[in-house]
Symmetry: C2
Subunit: 199 residues, 2 copies
């Protein structure tokens, strides 16, 4: 399938299927899916979205990276503290980010997926940030920006869907499924940020 066409093993630092076990249970995932109203039909809609977005991933990343580059408090998270952006860091993460779009659309949300969510979470926090790419950037992506980025990551996808699907109702449905998937993941990624017993 076109959405799986990237050679994953060629993406430096991408470790799907080869990370630690998530402390989050599948039952907890289930409750969270219900909270974001994520159902079976959303998996199907995401698969279809993955087909439409598959060959537009680089363009989507251009938009997102442009957004991050334009905001000092965001680009700082890819920079030397007090210094400029680390080009290799931005590029290495970009490749994994592209794969994440494909994974969000096509992977089953099972134990392996849950485990990698925890790893992505940790990579935004002092536990694992900078480690994968051997860089010396800021120690943590602030939680408020992680949550705030839900908006641009969600809404900027619409024109890319609309380019390949004429029916606005179908575009809406796919966008809704995408938004649910993004909020679901940000909720999972908030885990290592939370104080004991408050996640």
């Amino acid at each position: 399938m076109s959405t799986q066409s990237t050679n994953e093993s060629a993406i430096p630092g991408y470790a799907y299927g080869a990370v630690g076990h998530s402390p989050v249970t599948l039952d907890e995932l289930q409750a969270l899916k219900a909270t974001v109203m994520f159902g079976e039909e959303d998996s199907a809609l995401l698969h279809r979205a993955g087909e439409l977005l598959g060959d537009q991933v680089e363009e989507i990343l251009d938009v997102w990276y442009g957004f991050v580059a334009g905001q000092p408090h965001l680009v700082a998270q890819f920079s030397q503290p007090g210094g400029g952006p680390i080009t290799e860091y931005l590029q290495a993460v970009r490749a994994r980010f592209g794969q994440w779009i494909r994974d969000t659309c096509t992977r089953p949300y099972d134990q392996a997926w849950l485990d990698y969510q925890e790893e992505i979470a940790l990579r935004h926090t002092p536990a694992h940030k900078n480690e994968t790419d051997h860089v010396h950037s800021t120690p943590v992506v602030p939680l408020r920006y992680l949550i705030g980025l839900i908006v641009p990551i969600s809404t900027t996808v619409r024109p890319f869907l609309a380019r390949r699907e004429e029916d606005p109702a179908q575009v809406d449905a796919m966008l809704q499924a995408w938004i649910k998937a993004v909020v679901l993941q940000v909720a999972l990624w908030s885990r290592p940020y939370a104080r004991e017993g408050q996640w």
Copy 2:
């Protein structure tokens, strides 16, 4: 204006303008607004949304409360630990929740607003939860549900807007402004949940 028609001082526990100072600065708020792409036009769209939603607030609350009531892990936050829902708690919060819809649409996002955001945040955490209504419910609304609820709180508003506005493009624009406002607030509310230095 119809959206301000409720007599605020008659809402038990509603303390807008009479709470502590937020530790979040207006500059931090500004950066967060940029992150969720919130601009001047969104304030205008929210005002208009407030006019359309003003007399539908109770119906919107019916939908949201129905949603919460249907999920055990959510209704538990309004319940005695291990027991049933506390009716007076649900009702008291409902009145403030209705006012919050109006505030989100019509208040300027200034220092007083920022201060009350911090108070709402604290009311979801052990710092202030249960205090206002003198109840003995769970000590904290888990952060993951706070984030997850962004989806139902956002998307369920669409039909109420569409009922009063024919132009789908206008409905979309108001809904987008609403989503930004909700994500902005949840990002602010995540502050007391976060570990030191990670918010």
